[in-house]
């Protein structure tokens, strides 16, 4: 192999474009956060599920219609030819945790409890053009209940999301779960006399612009069109002016509390049966949340939430962080959405032909972690190991015995394993490792049965504050008997 390698240029040591590596605290802090969330999911009766990272393109399904390019949006490859059996399967990396859940719910439907509550956390992959802050592998953390049409499941998911966010460290008041219902939107369309399909999609897209263009803007967009600030003309949907009324009623239906909002929504859907059903579901969810102790300061009915509408069939949820952080330019900005979900019916049906109602949420792991860091709730001081330095290369066993003793006492410790010749490099290494303490024992100390214990945190403070003379007196370094090593390190670590 060595010979072969010489013939070719050296490979580039690079993380593939759009991917990243996580070091040290990046890994442990995410794990800590997910462990906290897992505790809550577990306590709500949810069971873990870890599917394979790889699925058949057929099972992923979303991409099936595009037969010529089965790998659009996913990382896909074709299996080798089956001997005597023609072309191999197309396989792909999962792009979310819901498609594999649908496959599992269909495949194991006779073995799983019904309803099946499951949580899943792990990486997913998207074959997208990488960009700043846009990655091709990222973590998701989902919880879903499969096999029940009861809105009690939706209410439970919202209550659990609230508990999970708080247990992860986001206090009540710093987040808000907003709840809407696709059926209410359908009722609004019905009240407008707009059938589903292209015009309905146009209406929904317009609703999504309410935040930006306001009531007048929405009226214009639904009817004859609108000129935006730059003077560009945006074509209207072409509805009659009075057809816009239910939309406006809907968009302005948010009241001071759930009861008011629900009353406004009941008026907005008018005679639509599906609309009334949607409002009734929201009312039930509101009651159930109250019964579970989740007040409107935690989860609230909010008609402005419009999520991936082709996918959802009933209640939809979105958790937003409501505190402001400073961005890299020092400007205040809202942190925004960290989780979302809702009710969906079609996923398992693809496999079995039977409708299997399901509801769930997905937490954006990286975003929530970033939020916890921005709030100073995670990622504080990282403490490295105690470093046992090496004064005499032939006394490694003695140094290793010290490290072993420290570990046996529950203290993180390591022996310096680089070239020990330059002692300054050893202290530089300890500094890079964020070590709180360095242990030093030369031949002289060994003969006298003592060790030097250097308090690196105090040492750094003295180096920053003290005069040269004070610094030279090394108050941060103490000589103790070898037998007292553990006690002295414990004293310094506090």
């Amino acid at each position: 192999m060595a010979k072969d390698l010489k013939k070719q240029p050296r490979p580039k040591a690079e993380t593939p474009k759009g991917f990243r590596d996580y070091f040290g605290a990046d890994v442990t802090e995410r794990k800590q956060m997910l462990d906290r969330i897992t505790e809550i999911y577990h306590r709500h009766g949810f069971e873990p599920l870890e599917t394979s990272a790889v699925e058949t393109v057929e099972a992923l399904g979303k991409f099936l219609p595009d037969v010529d390019r089965p790998n659009a949006g996913v990382f896909a490859w074709q299996e080798a030819e089956v001997p005597g059996g023609g072309a191999g399967d197309w396989l792909a990396l999962r792009y979310d945790l819901t498609a594999p859940l649908a496959r599992v719910a269909a495949q194991f439907r006779n073995d799983l409890p019904s309803p099946y509550r499951r949580y899943a956390m792990g990486p997913v992959w998207r074959n997208e053009k990488p960009g700043p802050g846009r990655f091709r592998q990222f973590y998701q953390c989902d919880a879903d209940t499969v096999g029940t049409a009861s809105v009690a499941a939706d209410a439970e998911i919202c209550a659990m999301l609230s508990a999970a966010l708080e247990h992860a460290g986001i206090p009540c008041g710093d987040y808000l779960i907003r709840i809407n219902n696709r059926k209410v939107l359908n009722g609004i369309l019905e009240a407008m006399g707009v059938t589903e399909g292209a015009p309905a999609d146009d209406v929904l897209r317009t609703i999504d612009k309410f935040d930006k263009v306001g009531e007048q803007g929405v009226r214009q967009l639904l009817t004859t069109g609108r000129k935006d600030d730059s003077g560009a003309v945006i074509e209207g949907v072409g509805l009659r002016p009075e057809q816009a009324d239910p939309v406006i009623a809907f968009l302005t239906s948010k009241g001071g509390n759930n009861a008011e909002t629900l009353a406004n929504l009941r008026a907005a859907v008018g005679a639509s049966a599906i609309g009334a059903e949607g409002v009734e579901e929201l009312a039930q969810i509101s009651d159930m949340l109250a019964a579970m102790g989740v007040g409107e300061d935690r989860a609230v009915i909010d008609p402005s939430i419009v999520r991936g509408l082709g996918y959802y069939t009933g209640p939809v949820f979105e958790a937003e962080l409501t505190f402001e952080i400073l961005d890299e330019k020092g400007r205040k900005r809202q942190f925004g959405s960290v989780a979302g979900g809702g009710r969906y019916d079609g996923l398992v049906e693809r496999f079995t032909g039977q409708k299997v109602p399901a509801t769930g949420i997905s937490i954006g792991v990286d975003r929530l972690l970033a939020a916890l860091r921005a709030k100073g709730l995670m990622g504080g001081e990282v403490q490295g190991p105690v470093v046992v330095t090496v004064m005499d290369r032939d006394r490694m066993s003695d140094y290793q015995a010290m490290a072993a003793e420290l570990r046996a006492a529950g203290i993180r410790a390591e022996v310096y394993l680089g070239n020990p010749k330059n002692f300054g490099n050893q202290l530089k290494y300890a500094d890079k490792r964020q070590s709180p303490v360095a242990i030093i024992q030369g031949a002289d100390e060994a003969a006298r049965g003592v060790v030097q214990v250097k308090d690196l945190i105090l040492g750094a403070r003295i180096a920053a504050e003290a005069s040269h003379d004070e610094w030279k007196s090394q108050p941060a370094q103490t000589e103790v008997r070898r037998a007292d090593l553990i006690a002295e390190v414990r004293r310094i670590l506090g």
Copy 2:
């Protein structure tokens, strides 16, 4: 989309061939085991690293020579064409955790501490023909020290592996770490007058057969060949009879303790300088392990260990579980190897041209977990959630309030969310969920301010043991005041 779907047959709901899904305890037990191992790695000063699952085929390297089929052994695919820039990169799923470490060590060499101690755990992928017990995605759990040639690093890795196995639950005496050194083997080859290359490989392959064919068999295989039990003739390596002597001395060098083994090895390598260096390294490792409190009942010099020799350049390690288990046919068998590793130099050099010495181990996660289960150390009783049953569909909020109260008291609980019509189905569900307790409250109980608390564990025991009359008296079901619900559930859970 619904229209498109009708045109094509339903997708199959199947885990792709060679992959698997993990449910419930499979996930939590593995996590628990890895958390225990992580604690030990952390205490030894190792830092977590999580690389992307995807690497460039170029960086993975091992597969580069096979230019026509860059995906042999790995799952690989080609990126889309770069606009105006020709063919896209070949990407692949990592096949182990060492190749990505080498890439990271080269890429971040100016930022990482040196030596760099890191651990990594996660799935790896192999594009192999699936077979019984052979999977194409499995977990590894590695720890490596990069950037030091000191055998102190090798000794530390062995001591850490010992601590990790014990912390995971394998007691001293149920495992043994065997240590050998590639340099000793090189010394043996030198003493035999066999240069490296094809004949050396043949000798090493023969050494590996010692367990099966014994001293006489090895002598035959090294010289003129051997007839095996079936009468088939195996060709010999073609050495002169006296050339086999150092190999035999080596293979029979294991003494009653490390000191004896080392003395035998010193004799076996004769005048070979590299052999003597290898023996000296083993002697140092032996001393260091003793200093760290790792006796020969935990880690021992054993010349019979021969691991992936093209890869390793110095000490090699293998951890074997020494207890017997019964296989599916009730036969006793040894559990065998659960971890292995050693020193390697060439991996980072591929990228930078500079030799970077490194050493490490990899734990076979699935095998170790299977061992813990076989020993009854994991996977005992799984307790499901308390199930609050639903007697009145319109009182869901009351049931949800009970579940919320239970959870607030730290008790895992859920409301039954299936169709509540058939109460028997609710109890069957609780049974499937391995619930310890079911809560029942009909309209009558609600009016009286009480709940029924059913001890399902006691109930199951009574059903198995008691007479029909005893069973009918339902001693496992207690009526308590609603306010006493938590206290009663706590009493039953113990």
